[in-house]
C-alpha cells in the first residue's frame, strides 16, 4: 500500500479517533501536570505562580509526603523482590512435565482476575483479629494471633503479601511463556555435552530467560510505585500512616485537601522516579544480555 506518491489522508483518518482521545487524555494532561506543579492552586485564592516552591515544600516541610516516600520505598523493595522470586519459582514449577498442569496454572492465575477491592475485602476478613481465619488457624496450633492490620510493621508486611498473592500469577505466566520459548534442542545439545541440571540452568535457561525476567522486573516496578487500590481498601493507609503510599498522598492532596499544585508536584516526583528506574533497569538488562 505504499504505491501512492502524494501524502494519503486515509491512515490519518484511521488513526484519528484513537489519537484524539490519546492526545486529550494522556498527552495534554502529562504536559499540563508540569504547568500545574508550579502554581499554588488553593480553591480560595486565584492561582498563583510560585515557581519550584511546591517541590521545596514537599521535600523540606511536608512530613506526610516524606513518610509516603519512605513507605513506598519499603513496599517496592519487598513487593518487586518477592514478585520476581515467586514468579520465577512458580513459572519453573508450572513448566515441569506434570499432570493437572492446566489446573495448577489456573489456580495460580485466578486471583489476578479479582478486583483489588475484592482482594482487600477477602484479606481484611481473613486477617480480622476476632473472626478471621488466620488467627483461628494459629490458635489451633497453639499460637496467639495478632491484630495484624493494627500493628504498623505487620500491616506493612501484609500489604506486600496481599499484593503478591493477588498479582504473582500474572508474572509467573510471563516467566512460563519465556521458559516455553526456549528451544528444546538447546537442552539436548547441553545434555550431549554432559551438562548437569545446574549447568543447564546456568548456561542455557538463565541467559535465555533474562528478557522475561527483565519484563517482570520493569512491569512490577511500575505497578508497585502506582500501588493504591489494594491498600486504600485494606488499611486506608494505616494504622496511622504506616501504609500510606504516594498515590494515596496525591489523591488526598488533590481531591480531599484541594491543593492541586502540591499534588501535581508530587505526581511529577513519582513520574521521574518511575522513569529513572525503568531506564536504569532497561539499561542494566541490556548490559546483562550483552554478557
Amino acid at each position: 500500500m505504499q504505491s501512492h506518491k502524494k501524502i494519503q489522508l486515509i491512515p490519518y483518518l484511521f488513526l484519528a479517533p484513537n489519537l484524539i482521545i490519546f492526545t486529550i487524555f494522556i498527552i495534554i494532561p502529562t504536559i499540563h501536570n508540569f504547568y500545574l506543579s508550579l502554581f499554588d492552586l488553593s480553591p480560595f485564592r486565584p492561582p498563583q505562580f510560585t515557581g519550584l516552591n511546591n517541590f521545596i515544600y514537599l521535600f523540606t516541610k511536608d512530613d506526610l509526603f516524606l513518610r509516603s516516600l519512605k513507605n513506598l520505598a519499603v513496599f517496592v523493595v519487598g513487593d518487586v523482590g518477592g514478585m520476581v522470586i515467586l514468579a520465577i519459582a512458580i513459572g519453573f514449577l508450572l513448566n515441569q512435565q506434570i499432570r493437572f498442569r492446566g489446573f495448577f496454572r489456573s489456580a495460580f492465575f485466578y486471583p489476578v482476575l479479582l478486583s483489588p477491592v475484592v482482594v482487600a475485602l477477602v484479606w481484611e476478613w481473613i486477617l480480622n483479629t476476632q473472626f478471621g481465619a488466620l488467627n483461628a488457624l494459629l490458635k489451633s496450633i497453639g499460637i496467639q494471633g495478632l491484630p495484624w492490620l493494627l500493628v504498623p510493621n505487620w500491616s506493612k508486611v501484609w500489604t506486600i503479601v496481599v499484593h503478591l498473592w493477588a498479582s504473582v500469577g500474572f508474572y509467573a505466566l510471563i516467566i512460563l511463556a519465556g521458559l516455553q520459548s526456549i528451544p528444546g534442542e538447546l537442552y539436548e545439545a547441553a545434555l550431549v555435552d554432559g551438562a548437569s541440571r545446574r549447568q543447564q540452568f546456568r548456561f542455557v535457561t538463565f541467559p535465555l530467560l533474562m528478557p522475561s525476567i527483565l519484563t517482570v522486573v520493569i512491569l512490577s516496578t511500575i505497578r508497585a510505585f502506582g500501588i493504591f487500590d489494594h491498600i486504600y481498601v485494606l488499611t486506608g493507609g494505616g494504622p496511622g500512616t504506616a501504609t500510606f503510599m504516594m498515590v494515596q498522598y496525591i489523591y488526598r492532596t488533590a481531591f480531599e485537601m484541594d491543593q492541586g499544585g502540591l499534588a501535581a508536584a508530587a505526581s511529577l516526583v513519582l513520574f521521574f522516579i518511575i522513569l529513572l528506574l525503568t531506564v536504569v533497569q532497561y539499561l542494566l538488562g541490556k548490559k546483562q544480555e550483552a554478557i
Partner: protein
Amino acid sequence: MKKKGSLFFNLSVYTILTFGSLIMFLPVLWIALSSFKGLEEIYKIPPTFFPKRWIITNFTGALQQFPFLLYLWNSIFVTIMATAITLLINSMAAFALSKYEFPGKNAIFITMLGTLMIPLQVIMLPVYLMIARLGMANSLWGIIIPPAATPTGVFILRQYMLTISDELIDAAKIDGAKDFRIYAQIILPLTKPALAVLTIFSIMWRWNDFLWPLIVINQEKYFTLQLALARFQGELVTDWHYVLAMTVMSVLPITAVFAFLQRYLVQGIASTGLKG
C-alpha cells in the same frame, strides 16, 4: 528440563504446587462459603469453614437493601461500552500503524509506547480537570472515555497485524476493495486472536477498575460495583453478611469470562510478555 525428573523431585513439585494452589484458592473459597452463612455464624469464634446451615437470605437481603442491580448495571455498561470503544479505535489505529507508510508514523508510535510509563496515577489530577472541563465529571462516560485509547491495546494489535501478509491486501485492492472494506472484511477477521486477548484484558481492567471511578464519580447512582463494595466495607457498622454476598456476586461474571476465555488469556500474556 525435558528429561523426566526423579521420583523425589516430582513428589516435591506436586507437594509445593498443591500447597500453593490451596493458598491461592482457599481464601476466596472461604469467602464464597461464608456468604451462605447466617450473621451469627459469620461472627462465630472460632470461625467455621463450611456453613452449618446454608441460607441465601444474604443475597436476597443485599438485593433488597442496596440498589445492587443499579451498581451491577453501571459496571456492565462501563465494561461493555469501554471494551467496544477500545476495540474499535485501537484496531483502527493499529491498522494504520501496521499497513500504511505515512509521515509521522514512527513518531506517533514511539510516543504511544513512551506513555506506557505514565500510569494514570501519575496524571490523575490533570485528567480529572480535563474531564471536568468537558462536562464528563460524575458521569459514566467520564469513566469510559479517557482510558479507551490504551497504548497497550494498540501495541498488541499492531504486532499481530504486522504478521498478516500484505499480499492479501494487494489482491483485494486489485479487486477494487476500498481501505475501509479491507480493514473491516480482511484485517479484522484475521486479527481475531489478538482482538480476543484485548477483549479479555479490557473486561478485566474495566470491571475491576477502582481509582479512576473513585475520582470521577461522587454520586451513588453512578457507583460501579467496586465503588459500592469499597464504600459499604468502609462504613462504621459494616453489614458483613451483605458485603460478602455482594462480593461473591461481583466476582461471578468475571469468573465466568475467565472460564470461557482463559485459553486466549494465557496465550495473550505469553505473547505480550515476550518483548517484541
